[in-house]
Amino acid sequence: MEFVSDLASLINSTLRISTPLVFAAMAGIFAERSGVIDFSLEGKMLMAAFVAAVCSYYFGNPWIGLLMAIIVCVSLSMLHGFASVTHKGDQVVSCVAINILIIGLTTALAAAWFGQAGLTPTLTQEQRFLEVNLPFAENLRDIPIIGTIYSDILSGHYIFVYFAYISVPIVYWIVFKTSFGLRLRAVGENPSAVDTAGINVFAMRYKALAVNGILIAFAGAHLSTAVNANFFREMSAGRGYLALAAMIFGKWHPKTALIACLLFGFTDALQIRLQGVEIPTIGEIPVQLIQALPYILTVVLLAGFVGKAIAPNAIGQPYIKER
């Protein structure tokens, strides 16, 4: 019985830990499918975490925090678009600039406004998102298997966890089943053909970046107003890059990207459990090695030991309209 509850709590934490990765990977799919590289997921996630924490604190309502985070992230996406779509600047350089700018700015402003430690004030119960218990979770708990799955795994998560997993089929539907999605993918594969068909390439890329900004804001708000009750320095801790790796590993496809995100989440959940555990014959694994596992896994997955990833054809290239 102990094994079952252990497994349930491991799956439970996998779902929770994967949440920001899922949002970020879905955000990445929109940008990259339209032909715009987005390494700035990391920076935008951090910015969203900062804005959500600060605005939830000032307005006393986490939904306002989320809304402001969305506005700021969409603006950052527009900045990326302004540099790399309109002015045809280097997309990777633009992303690196945004990431470094945000790492500096969030911590600098947090320190200036709330003291040297660079933390935002701890949010009260009303100012943050709380766990949502699904209906009848308590009543069904004692039913074997179904009760465990429903009450211990599915129920009791932050609202963002549900949003994240609902977003995956929606993203799939938009990208693969709507005319917007068809245009989006076409812009990333062959922009001049799309242009010939009378569709504005630049407008499509800006629209994709706007959706990207909205999705990534959820990831940041999840970090600072749900799982944690404040913002702290560099709290995104590379998750934007992990999500990007998951997206590439998932071949720019929502379903496979989701699986990769869950794999990362599972490694991270396992990582927390493995710390300090004696393993027969090997002994205790150094905690630093365990902590580096998600990063090592990223490298291994990206090395494509499970198949080669093929990016959208026009990715990274600014579109230059012929006259």
């Binding site: 280097d90 990777v92 600039a97 990431n99 470094i100 790492i103 990007l244 990063y295 990833a309």
Partner: protein
């Protein structure tokens, strides 16, 4: 905006290589001023403090040059890889591991006479830094894993590895803090304070040391490598047009590896400055963001050693002057200067063409008018 068509051949070199970068830099600094204002301090006062802190007294100036040394290494590191169109964001990790190379060589061979142990330690830094860059390079060229993600991951992994080594393997067991023992004093690189004693100037302490000359030598080395050797030519060919390079019989795989290894080696040299020159031991997290600053330095310096030198000096001023600001202004932390770096990368890298057509056409029209009259 992009409707302005400028005949590129008529634009004087100093307009595109001096005026435009200066305009971009001014824009970045102007926006930085707004951020300082938002943080609740006076930007004009901050500029005064920066200038005083970095030039106002000889010790401050020595610090400026010490930071410049680090930025020359990391700036060159980014630039070399960039000529092959590789984004080596891993300077931070390569410098960290390079420092390990310096320390291991220096502590184990400290019985050797002084110039020889220095040379070997420098070699150690280059080899370790290059080795850490080799894996992402290999994965990029053979498996197509994007070098930006792998180098970032290698920064995280380097940090975990070094913490493990510092805590469990090479820690000075007499101390609680995770750092190694000090290197024997005989093999420390001579510092500026020793030199200034000879010149008759008295200063208390200065981290500036002989590595500064190594940095200047590296500038010449990179210029020679990129523009005067076959390797440099091949690297630029792969970076410029991989398909054409393949037709010309140039192997992209080989050049990606070479470019990344030289890049990693240059980043590793930061360890020489920090460990052989300044702290004489490995401390946790000693690269302290210098690797990332190198990106801004290289992009501002347009990836050319002649541009990287002033760019590194400018960042030296910002770092040293910035520490004066954080000392005097309670609302400003060193992270504000990280944000400034981001803005400089944005305006001189990604948005470098923002006002270029306007500025170039302005000068071209003026020159035309002069010719006519």
């Amino acid at each position: 905006m992009s409707n302005i068509v400028v005949d590129k051949t008529k634009v004087p070199w100093w307009v595109s290589n001096v005026i435009v970068p200066l305009v971009n830099l001014s824009l970045a600094l102007f926006v930085s001023g707004i951020f300082i204002f938002i943080a609740g301090e006076n930007p004009i006062e901050a500029v005064k403090l920066i200038i005083f802190g970095s030039f106002g007294y000889i010790q401050g100036f020595a610090y400026t040059l010490y930071y410049t040394t680090n930025f020359i290494f990391t700036g060159l590191a980014f630039a070399v890889a960039f000529h092959c169109r590789l984004f080596n964001i891993g300077g931070e990790g390569q410098a960290y591991i390079g420092g390990l190379g310096v320390f291991l060589v220096a502590i184990n061979l400290s019985f050797l006479p002084v110039p020889i142990v220095w040379l070997l330690a420098i070699l150690g830094a280059i080899l370790f830094g290059a080795a850490w860059a080799y894996i992402p390079a290999y994965l990029q060229s053979k498996r197509g894993s994007h070098v930006v993600i792998t180098t970032i991951m290698f920064n995280f992994i380097a940090s975990s590895l070094m913490i493990y080594l510092l805590v469990d393997v090479i820690r000075d067991t007499n101390q609680m803090a995770p750092h190694t023992v000090k290197l024997p004093e005989e093999i420390w690189l001579p510092s500026f304070e020793a030199l200034s004693g000879v010149l008759g100037i008295k200063i208390r302490y200065s981290p500036l040391n002989l590595t500064f000359l190594l940095a200047i030598a590296s500038l010449f080395f990179v210029w020679f490598l990129i523009w005067k050797t076959r390797w440099g030519y091949e690297m630029r060919a792969v970076g410029h047009n991989t398909q054409a390079a393949i037709y010309a019989g140039i192997s992209p795989h080989k050049n990606i590896i070479i470019a990344m290894c030289i890049s990693g080696g240059l980043a590793g040299l930061l360890g020489v400055n920090e460990i052989l020159g300044v702290s004489h031991k490995i401390q946790a997290g000693f690269p302290a963001g210098y690797g990332f600053t190198g990106i801004a330095v290289a992009l501002m310096g347009r990836n050319h050693p002649i541009g990287i030198l002033p760019a590194a000096f400018l960042f030296g001023i910002l770092y040293q002057g910035g520490s004066e600001v954080t000392f005097e202004m309670p609302n400003i932390t060193r992270y504000m200067f990280v944000a400034v770096q981001g803005l400089i990368i944005l305006f001189s890298g990604a948005l470098e063409n923002l006002f270029r057509p306007q500025i170039e056409s302005f000068f071209v029209n003026r020159l035309n008018r002069e010719v006519r009259s």
